[in-house]
């Protein structure tokens, strides 16, 4: 009974302290004021583990298809390059101002330690977004085929030259959305 009372009091103290912390407004929320290392590690680990868990059953289609590159390239340029950059561009207003910093998708995994996502994880993140991060859920307005096309393009992005990027992302009047 004493143990139960102790646990109850402890729980109450934790609840009151947490509520006071939340309602105080003390914690800095500005994107230009970084988390402490511990908080950053906790949030990042939570995010990565959540995405891994949510995407573990996804079946990745064949992505080495030129048609997917043609479909995904213009979408990437218009929807993603502002934050995730493109060949020949190492920063943007969005990439500098967002926190956490959006991963630079023009560099390969070996060069960018923060982006080890495979195609399944990338598909899931594009489709569902990330809470409170600036990464939108594109799946609400884009079907799976278009998202897989963007994943296919992103897989090739680190090896593209600026010329190849410009050609692949240019929209011609003949561009159409494929029926599904």
């Amino acid at each position: 009974m004493q143990v139960f009372k102790s646990l109850l009091i402890t729980g109450l103290i934790v609840f009151v302290s947490a509520s006071a912390f939340i309602f105080s407004g003390w914690y800095p929320i500005g994107a230009d004021d970084q988390h402490t290392a511990v908080v950053y590690w906790a949030l990042e680990t939570l995010r990565e583990r959540s995405v891994e868990h949510a995407s573990k059953d996804l079946v990745v289609p064949a992505l080495n298809d030129s048609k997917l590159l043609l479909l995904g390239g213009p979408d990437y340029n218009e929807m993603c390059a502002g934050c995730h950059l493109k060949p020949g561009r190492s920063e943007s207003d969005m990439s500098l101002g967002l926190y956490p910093v959006p991963p630079d998708l023009t560099v390969s995994h070996g060069q960018h330690s923060e982006d080890h996502a495979g195609p399944a994880q990338r598909f899931w993140v594009i489709k569902h977004g990330i809470k409170a991060s600036g990464m939108p859920a594109w799946g609400l307005t884009h079907d799976d085929q278009r998202i897989w096309a963007m994943v296919a393009f992103i897989q090739k992005l680190p090896e593209l030259t600026p010329l190849q990027y410009q050609i692949l992302t240019a929209r011609t009047s003949g561009d159409t959305v494929h029926d599904h």
């Binding site: 298809d65 030129s66 010329l163 050609i167 692949l168 992302t169 240019a170």
Partner: protein, 107 residues
């Protein structure tokens, strides 16, 4: 009678809302297409053709995009400069073959 008036009021509100909600649909990509520039296919001539892997899906996509852009460019000129215009044997396949050769020869 009162019931009919209530129903009528509800319909006056609901029908416009329903019509507006139908506008919220998956959109055509052209809606967020910016003022994009044409693909710079002429610059392919500066690439070392001997180093190009034609089985590379990137280069396959690049060539496909340039073929499409060139075809649109020919349509825009009204076929005036197409020497095969009056030949009945000229097919779309031949046009693609010409465009492929043209892309390679520029190297």
């Amino acid at each position: 009678m009162k019931y009919c008036n209530d129903l009528k009021s509800q319909l006056i509100v609901l029908v416009p809302l329903l019509l507006v909600s139908m506008l919220v649909t998956a959109h055509d990509p052209k809606e967020h297409a910016k003022e994009t520039e044409a693909p710079q296919c002429e610059a392919l001539a500066s690439m070392d053709q001997s180093e190009i892997d034609e089985n590379d899906p990137v280069m396959q996509a690049v060539y496909a995009k340039c073929r499409q852009a060139m075809a649109e460019g020919h349509h825009g000129e009204g076929h005036a400069k197409d020497p095969n215009e009056n030949k009945s044997a000229h097919t779309e396949k031949d046009a693609h073959a010409h465009e492929d050769d043209d892309l390679r020869d520029r190297g």
